[in-house]
Symmetry: none
Subunit: 386 residues, 2 copies
């Protein structure tokens, strides 16, 4: 913990280091995390200059290698403003694969052992991204489809409307204990577990950043709703989130709102400038707002024996399951039912012939003529213990 803390170097609230200072720091290989800052430069070089195993999550929206040929026109003859920027040009699949291999390796080095990565792409590049993730030992947890509610139609009627993009969520390795806020995402989805297909609109309207000329500041700005779901679901407040293709800073903006620290890396000055102006306007939510639905797994463990020690249940008292079968509570917190002895879980599993059993919800006891689940006593004890 101390190891990581000494690397943290938060930007002052009033403003970040200027870019000249930043470049110097990076070039000298200072092992400090430029938290909540936008680092100029090539993302591979910058990542390699940062201390290894220091980042909780990486969100990466790399160039898509679109390979567009001529101009595309709408049926009314207006020209579609396509992604034709220099940063999206690669000479071949091999060149794109080399680039992918290098930046993914640099990203993997930066991740903590239990860290994870999100990448987003379209059919032009996502298969190469996914294959290389697997080749490097990342462990894919889900692929997620961002289903656009308002995609651009296919004007020529030669293919299906390309109405989605694909995200891949992967942990650093198979053994990683990745962060997944299951209950928060379930709450966000009105009580049913979140699926791998997310219906969200593209980034437009007020959210879409414009330059002085009124044109879009970045050709592929991602919606904040997408990052909200990613960061809420797979990071905790205070986590460090790095975006090596920061663009106009959607990842940073949502991270700031949600009380996560971000590191942005971006090569193009115009994008950095737009992102800085944007980030200055973002405010963090207060603590009560940031709090999310808590998982039961995070609650303190209460040994069943404590109910007896604390006098909430008496030794010798009988417990009953849903089928009316009974078991006697023994002084050491184990049960006995006929000749089956063991914990509340073991005896329940044995009676049901089941591979496992949650004894807390399986057993009830009698109080004033009523059957009361023993889990109620656990809740009572947890409340007492604060």
């Amino acid at each position: 913990m101390i190891h990581l803390l000494i690397h943290k170097m938060k930007a002052s609230p009033n403003g970040a280091m200027n870019e000249a200072e930043m470049t110097t720091k990076i070039a000298t290989g200072a092992a400090e995390l430029p938290l909540n800052q936008i680092v100029p430069g090539d993302c591979i070089e910058v990542m390699n200059s940062l201390p290894e195993a220091s980042v909780d999550l990486i969100f990466a929206d790399p160039p898509y290698n679109l390979q567009l040929k001529g101009d595309l026109h709408r049926p009314d003859n207006s020209r579609v403003d396509a992604v034709d920027d220099a940063w999206d040009q690669f000479s071949s699949f091999a060149a794109y694969d080399r680039f992918t291999r290098d930046w993914l390796a640099a990203a993997r080095r930066l991740l903590k052992p239990h860290g994870a990565i999100w990448v987003i792409g379209s059919y032009h590049n996502v298969f190469r991204l996914g294959a290389e993730l697997q080749n490097q030992g990342f462990w894919i947890l889900n692929d997620v489809v961002w289903r656009k509610s308002n995609p651009m139609p296919n004007f020529r009627g030669k293919r299906l409307t390309n109405a989605h993009e694909t995200l891949i969520w992967a942990s650093k390795q198979e053994a990683s204990k990745y962060t997944f806020n299951y209950d928060a995402l379930k709450a966000l989805n009105e009580g049913v577990q979140m699926r791998s297909d997310w219906v969200l609109p593209i980034c437009s309207g007020h959210e879409r950043l414009k330059d002085e000329a009124g044109d879009k500041a970045h050709p592929t700005q991602k919606p904040e709703s997408l990052l909200h779901r990613v960061l809420l679901g797979t990071t905790n407040p205070g986590d460090v989130v790095l975006d090596p293709f920061f663009g106009t800073g959607t990842t940073g903006a949502v991270a700031k709102m949600l009380g996560r620290d971000f590191i942005g890396i971006e090569r193009e000055k115009s994008y950095r400038d737009a992102a800085r102006a944007r980030l200055d306007k973002v405010r963090k939510y207060d603590r009560a707002t940031l709090e999310v639905t808590q998982s039961k797994r995070a609650l303190p463990r209460i040994p069943f024996g404590q109910l007896i020690e604390r006098g909430l249940l008496r030794p010798g008292e009988m417990l009953v399951n849903a089928r009316g079968q009974m078991a006697k509570v023994r002084v050491d917190g184990t049960l006995i039912a006929d000749d089956i002895r063991g914990s509340i879980h073991q005896v329940g599993a044995a009676l049901d012939g089941a591979p496992s059993c949650n004894g807390w919800t399986y057993w009830s006891f009698r109080r004033e003529g009523q059957m009361v689940p023993i889990d109620l006593l656990r809740q009572q004890l947890r409340a007492e213990l604060g």
Copy 2:
């Protein structure tokens, strides 16, 4: 055209060649297409024995290389019947890649110059499939997401519900003049152009083939609705459709209904037998059971959390009920009122001491001095999402 016709050798309507005859024909390298038949054997060998440039479309559902570990149980302790068949076992990604390279090369050789291929997979294998397609010169036209309306849930709450599979549609080469029945698919989609995400139920009920013991005949039978859309959209009547992983013959069944010729290749005798029995019962143009989901269009369910993600409500904002009681909106779409936390419905019910509550009509928020029910935002979102 004549060149192709001489290769065609349709099965007699009353029955196909028996398997012994078939094997002999293949072994001698007879350059004839076994139309509307199921060829036994390894798909690579069989494909290499058929004449090149003779097939219009290939639909391939190869093994997914799932790499499952131990058993999985549902919360009710029942065991999940997993895909653990020998044909899905590969020793490494390298072995899977070799297999993929070989069968794709054999498939590409069989395709006519203007032919196309569909492959289907999950995140376990689809990135390797897509990358190898590109490596071999196939030209990806779309990736299509099959969004399952009734997927298996994630029982342990450790990941997102894996609710989709991915199909890739690619032509033999960039210059191919592939078949795309734009208007047919547009008609199928109620007059708006077909998108790259298809919502279809999994294969179950009467359509799911059972063996004598009443168990599923094949662990991964695909729904006919999926193949209906593929074949209707990317083939013409009379086209030759080849499926190298024929299984229990969904591709053949739909091809027969739609008046396309099929060639099935399948290694496992039990699958071939089930497929033959199935195909015998299929009649051309029996479309009644297809596209069942198309008709029912219920109002889309909008989770309250989406209002937050979409910025229609801000986290931290206060909601008010009819009695003037207030609750604060949290980032995961839950509310907090004093020490009561939960969904809009739960908190409303708790405040009223009621068993249930419709949060959508219970809560309002302040906009420009006016109190506005949150249900208005839901209606707004529904309109946007179409």
